[in-house]
Symmetry: C2
Subunit: 485 residues, 2 copies
């Protein structure tokens, strides 16, 4: 709708986000509290995320399966930390088929319990290991304050669950899948992330160790974009997931789990969007190029539409996803506006005068990298270069996002006061030393609202290792702090 | 597990079905009553069904979206027939986030109500029509007697929901999607179906008219494999789904809905399976060709495995899905047994003597059509002809199933007694005249346990139209009866 304004990011980032998600038709509120509707434009992006991740999972040896939506309460209660973490958020089915159930069933908030109970049935010997499964599913966590894509009662995700004969192999899997996530987020969402280990207080309920991908949004708040958990034998012991080892001993298997969700769409919006609308990276865009024909009378319409269709066919032959927007009830300007709001990477405008000159106008959704935002190009040149141009645009979005993140990062902070000052000054990721003392974490949270995002992997660490922790004690490691979604 | 026997179909079709689904590792029972686990082999088949259907939906102009799992009870209660049909089967969430809900929420048994409430929000004018959406989702219908894939409390499906400006357009859509289903079932599952209209007593709760695809299983029971509903304005009136027509009038939209589910996997099993295991049509098979290397010592192993890998690469280059089964802890015989039970279309055996002769042994899962079940072939010939051979095998499965169905069909039945006799004699689809009187339907059901499957489309009708109905009254149409799943 061409007449709807959009709050600017600078004025109110939160309002901008909600408006842009609705107006770009990614999603809508539903009549069910906390649940949203993912509209075709948003779902089309999710389908591409799913297909790309799914291919990466399969390349790393995983298969898909499907496990029940409903989990007996007694299962969730078996693992002490797990139940503590998830019970407050459960939606519970108490009646079915017109009767009260003997045991209430929870809608899965995550599926470790039901899945490992099945693995216990399937795995007898070391020969049956590893088990490397993933499921694409909906899950439910009852949330008080919801936000489209970022925090909703129901969301779509994938959850990988694996069982291994040794701790080393499970740890390796945990790291492998973290790396898969990182590659996907950078190569497909053009969203750079810092990978690392979560602190004890921030890890998954039931995990021994949690690794995460942390992205930095344009408001300099962090988004936990994906997690990979080394579960040790916590679940295998509760669900009797044992196997006979090569040496003939009965042993508990070692588990991992890892997941990403439709939250990634929120990450995409807050990484690339601007005051005009969202920006969809070409690899995720259901439509990569929209062709807008321009004409004033029937004769012009015939000629221009014919050319537009030819352009569509030629681009599709090169694997480009194209839409010719031939709607008759809208002006070209209104179409420009709509597709820019929806974040289509490139627009081609073509009118009678372009026909004469055998040219088109190429307009990029944003200026990024060395490319111009708007160019007049001979038709052949415009078409033949399109796949390369889309890839260049994809890459420039990642570069731009990485530059922004680095510009928003502050290193070498030495005290809680300095940390607070940096955050209040608009910093995003703040790096400091840490002794490992949870009391410091609590103090930081209370005084600055920031949380410990992760103990970053080597490549993200500062050139000079900090010697002092935030509490003035000895630094055992460097950590990243941020206010977060 | 090579030592598990399989009940024969002739001895007990029902026991055979349950055993073959479990032993081929399509699915397993879960600890949650009525819910099953779809294992990787079954889910791999479902992924191929989903991708093929999804492409057909998109070719016919549909997009995917995602709507909430939970539906307010008040929504389901709005359409009188709809609530009557579905309320007894609902699973209901009464508590969430540690509190009792103000209004109970049902887990969707189907999504007409929530989806049309959203369309009402999105549609203002005839310009917003048609709305052509589909969702891939899990649904829940609490069943007392469950059966793997055919009848489970939770199942996976797709549900298409459309809104149109005219009844004619909606009716056309209903028929179009029925035809999409039929094409898919024949071309992909190799499962021939009779299409037609459901009687009033068998139609969807809330529909004006229901069309269905009816398949005939090997035990001569019918399986309703997919349905397409013309909903008229039943839901648009309850959910205020109106639009301003071109003439400026406020009108109610016309709706359709259509769905198929994981039940199709059960149909595949009961259409093609035999006493050895299931048979997966090549287009749906996660693995189309399994290569089993045969060797007695390390030297032979090296040479044979090298050849097996070469075969895999060459077939994959031709788009064939191949697995080399190089497991060291199993005999070739045990591998043959496992992959035959799992229904892999073709097996290639290769041993040291085959290497010398530059040949392979090709074994088809079943003999169908003119092709031999087992052939010795030169390697080059075996490989170059594989895509064509797989297609021929796919087609021969369909032909074989169609012949079986026709052999099991009886036409021209003139009375309830004759119908009962035909059914007791092992008939599948029984064709007769019908006056349209629901009392006859009831009598047939009471006396023969058969139901009216459909009023078949033209091409399925008998050469001579019946003049008399089953009750001795005038026949207004020909119908198909069968005992059904």
């Amino acid at each position: 709708m061409a007449d709807k304004g959009l709050t600017s990011r600078a004025d109110d980032f939160n309002a901008w986000y909600n408006e842009v998600v609705l107006q770009s038709e990614l999603a809508d509120y539903s009549p069910v509290r906390g649940s949203m509707v993912i509209r075709p434009w948003g779902y089309g992006i999710w389908e591409r995320m799913r297909d790309a991740l799914d291919a990466m999972f399969k390349e790393t040896g995983h298969e898909n399966a499907y496990f029940p939506l409903l989990i007996p309460m007694s299962f969730i209660e078996k693992e002490a930390e797990h139940v503590e973490g998830f019970k407050p958020e459960l939606a519970v089915v108490t009646h079915a088929g017109g009767e009260e159930l003997g045991e209430p069933l929870a809608i899965r908030p995550t599926s470790e319990t039901i899945i490992y109970s099945m693995y216990a049935k399937w795995v007898q010997s070391y020969r049956d290991l590893p088990v490397l499964l993933n499921q694409w599913a909906n899950v439910m966590r009852w949330e008080l304050r919801t936000k489209l894509f970022l925090r909703t009662a129901e969301f779509l995700w994938q959850e990988g669950h694996t069982a291994h004969a040794t701790a080393e192999e499970a740890e390796e899997e945990t790291r492998r899948m973290l790396e898969v996530y990182r590659t996907f987020m950078e190569d497909w969402i053009a969203m750079p992330v810092v990978t690392g280990l979560k602190s004890e207080s921030e890890k998954f309920a039931g995990a021994v160790r949690t690794y995460s991908c942390e992205a930095l949004m344009q408001d300099n708040k962090a988004l936990q974009a994906g997690t990979s958990h080394f579960l040790g034998q916590n679940f295998s012991k509760q669900f009797d997931l044992t196997f006979q080892s090569e040496a003939g001993e009965e042993e508990y298997a070692w588990n991992t789990s890892w997941g990403v969700s439709t939250r990634l769409i929120g990450g995409m919006v807050m990484t690339h969007g601007d005051d005009v609308g969202i920006v969809v990276p070409p690899r995720l865009a259901p439509i990569q190029v929209v062709v807008v024909p321009i004409f004033r009378n029937d004769d012009e319409a015939t000629r221009v539409l014919e050319k537009a269709e030819e352009i569509r066919r030629r681009l599709e032959d090169d694997g480009v996803r194209v839409r010719v927007d031939a709607r008759e009830t809208m002006t070209p300007g209104a179409k420009f506006y709509e597709w820019e709001r929806k974040g289509v990477p490139f627009r081609l405008e073509i009118g009678p005068r372009d026909l004469e000159k055998d040219q088109v106008v190429l307009v990029r959704r944003v200026q990024a990298g060395d490319e111009k935002r708007k160019e007049f190009l001979p038709v052949d040149e415009a078409l033949s270069g399109m796949p390369g141009r889309l890839e260049a645009f994809q890459k420039s979005l990642l570069d731009r996002a990485r530059e922004r993140r680095e510009a928003g990062s502050v290193r070498g902070v030495g005290s809680v006061e300095e940390l607070a000052e940096a955050l209040d000054g608009g910093a995003g990721f703040v790096y400091s030393g840490w002794s490992g003392d949870p009391a410091v974490e609590e103090r930081v949270k209370a005084e600055t609202k920031a949380t410990l995002r992760c103990i970053p992997d080597d490549e993200f660490r500062s050139a000079t290792a900090p010697s002092e922790g935030l509490g003035g004690d000895e630094a055992k490691m460097e950590v990243v702090w941020a206010r977060a979604y």
